[in-house]
């Protein structure tokens, strides 16, 4: 889940230099769009979840593209204003969700087979974990193939290295900006869907709480690096869970912050420096 949120953040910062604090709100909006759609379509829980997820991901992508076109694009080369706008937007979107659907958590459409467990080497693992791992792996493979084998992927990889030189080759890099924002929004919304499946509910504060760890993952992985982000997401997730389980509940967050401090001291550019591959 961390990877899904962080991959978009990483590409957006790597390519555009924009710290998108509204990224967590896209997760929340995606999750609520999924929940809302699922309550308005027929069929079993599986169908509801699938249709809702498609709608949620679409809403996340469209909203992200609109944010880039309307709010971010006029503020290129003005990083302070960009931060203020994205922070303000995050607050506004969360407030909007709370105003429409209230503060209470809403039940997410989760099919029973996802709640069941599968025994692996003696451990009973809820099936939704396999779905989450599978989706994250599929997104990683998809993004990697997109970046490596498509024209836009080439532009994004080059833009992460040197945006000005990409424009000096006659390429309108702003289209790539919109595309990256949309892809990031879709991935965040997908994370919203999976977080709904994981927790069984959706609430307005979900995106904000996960965004903090997503930023940590991006810093550890290296801005603009999808591979680095994937590795960092796994490392952060494992350390957090192991510390919570074997030490004391709540120590996981502290362990992650300590890991961040160590990485910043030893390798400030992150595990994989600013090259999108």
């Amino acid at each position: 889940m961390y990877f899904l949120i962080a991959s978009g953040l990483s590409l957006i910062y790597g390519l555009m230099g924009v710290l998108n604090f509204a990224h967590g709100a896209l997760l929340t909006v995606g999750a609520y769009a999924t929940w809302w759609t699922s309550t308005h379509v027929g069929g079993g829980p599986g169908t509801k979840l699938l249709v809702g997820a498609l709608a949620g991901v679409a809403v996340g992508g469209i909203l992200a593209a609109l944010i880039e076109l309307v709010l971010i694009r006029p503020l290129y080369r003005r990083p302070v204003e960009q931060v203020l706008v994205t922070v303000g937007l995050a607050l506004a979107l969360n407030a909007l969700v709370e105003a429409i659907w209230g503060f209470d958590a809403r039940p997410f459409p989760v099919p029973s087979w996802l709640i069941d467990t599968t025994t692996v080497f003696g451990a009973n693992i809820p099936n939704d974990r396999f779905l989450e791992i599978g989706v994250a792996a599929a997104v990683l493979v998809g993004l990697t193939l997109f970046l490596r084998y498509t024209r836009y992927g080439l532009i994004i990889r080059a833009g992460v290295e040197n945006r000005a030189m990409v424009t000096a080759l006659g390429i309108d890099v702003r289209r790539a900006f919109t595309l990256v924002f949309a892809l990031g929004g879709m991935a965040a919304a997908l994370a919203g869907v999976l977080s709904g499946v994981y927790y069984g509910v959706v609430d307005p504060g979900r995106g904000t709480s996960l965004l903090i760890f997503a930023f940590i993952v991006v810093v550890i992985g290296g801005f603009g690096s999808i591979g680095g982000t994937a590795v960092a997401a796994v490392v952060v997730g494992l350390i957090q869970q192991y510390a919570n389980y074997y030490a004391s509940s709540g120590l996981g967050d502290l362990a992650v912050v300590l890991l961040l401090a160590i990485v910043l001291l030893l390798r400030p550019e992150g595990l994989s420096p600013k090259v999108a591959h």
Partner: protein, 233 residues
């Protein structure tokens, strides 16, 4: 007829007034060399023509004012750009660097590989692992890949071994057969070999324009304008 006309160009970088009303013309065909001491604004002039720095004044390309256009739009009017320090994409392969540069029409891979056969054999190598000379080949190849009527080339021989300087100069001569070249170059031997016109900058202003042979013969003027002994040798 002037293919490029620069009129009263001003550029501020921070507090510094780098270009203070630069005006000159680049005739169609051949090579015009933009000369001057370090820090007089040669690179900034090229970057201003490309729209890579905020500027005031007018730049006209083949009769069309380009000052209000974005960089990618200016390039699509037919400008190839070889930046100072090459700026190849280190994480991309040589092939990817070239593929990224392709625009409309047929990319001229035959020409590029004829000039720099090494690039063909190193197509799968990451540009960041190439030598400085090989990176310069990639940078020039990117500009030559498309049928651009104008090439802006910024210090292509900087930091290169003498053998590579000769190779780059040959490439520039060939490029000048296909396009109008505005060249920033410190190496006067290269200027003498390839340039027909010169524009000399000093203190952010144009202080001399004229035929290259005329300037390069006048050692005293070269010494006073460029601060180097002249003759290109």
């Amino acid at each position: 007829m002037a293919l490029i006309r620069v009129d009263d160009l001003h550029v501020y970088l921070g507090e510094s007034h780098v270009l203070q009303g630069v005006s000159f013309e680049v005739p169609e065909g051949g090579v015009t060399a933009l000369l001057g001491r370090n820090g007089v604004g040669k690179t900034t002039t090229l970057r201003a023509i490309m729209g890579l720095v905020p500027r005031r004044g007018t730049v006209t390309l083949a009769g069309e004012e380009t000052t209000r256009l974005a960089t990618h739009q200016i390039v699509r009017r037919g400008i190839g750009y070889v930046p100072e320090d090459r700026d190849v994409f280190a994480g991309l392969t040589v092939d990817e660097n070239l593929r990224l540069s392709e625009r409309n029409g047929l990319p001229r891979y035959e020409l590029v590989y004829e000039l720099f056969p090494e690039l063909k054999t190193r197509g799968g190598q990451r540009a960041g692992t190439l030598s400085g000379g090989q990176q310069q080949m990639v940078a020039i190849a990117r500009a030559l890949l498309n049928d651009n009527p104008v090439l802006l080339v910024d210090e292509p021989t900087k930091g290169l071994a003498p053998l590579l300087v000769t190779e780059v100069a040959s490439a520039l001569e060939r490029a000048a057969e296909l396009a109008t070249v505005l060249l920033v170059e410190q190496n006067l031997a290269v200027v003498e070999r390839v340039a027909q016109q010169v524009v000399v900058l000093d203190g952010g202003r144009v202080v001399h324009t004229g035929p290259a042979t005329e300037l390069l013969r006048d050692r005293a003027t070269i010494q006073s304008l460029l601060g180097v002994s002249g003759g290109g040798h």
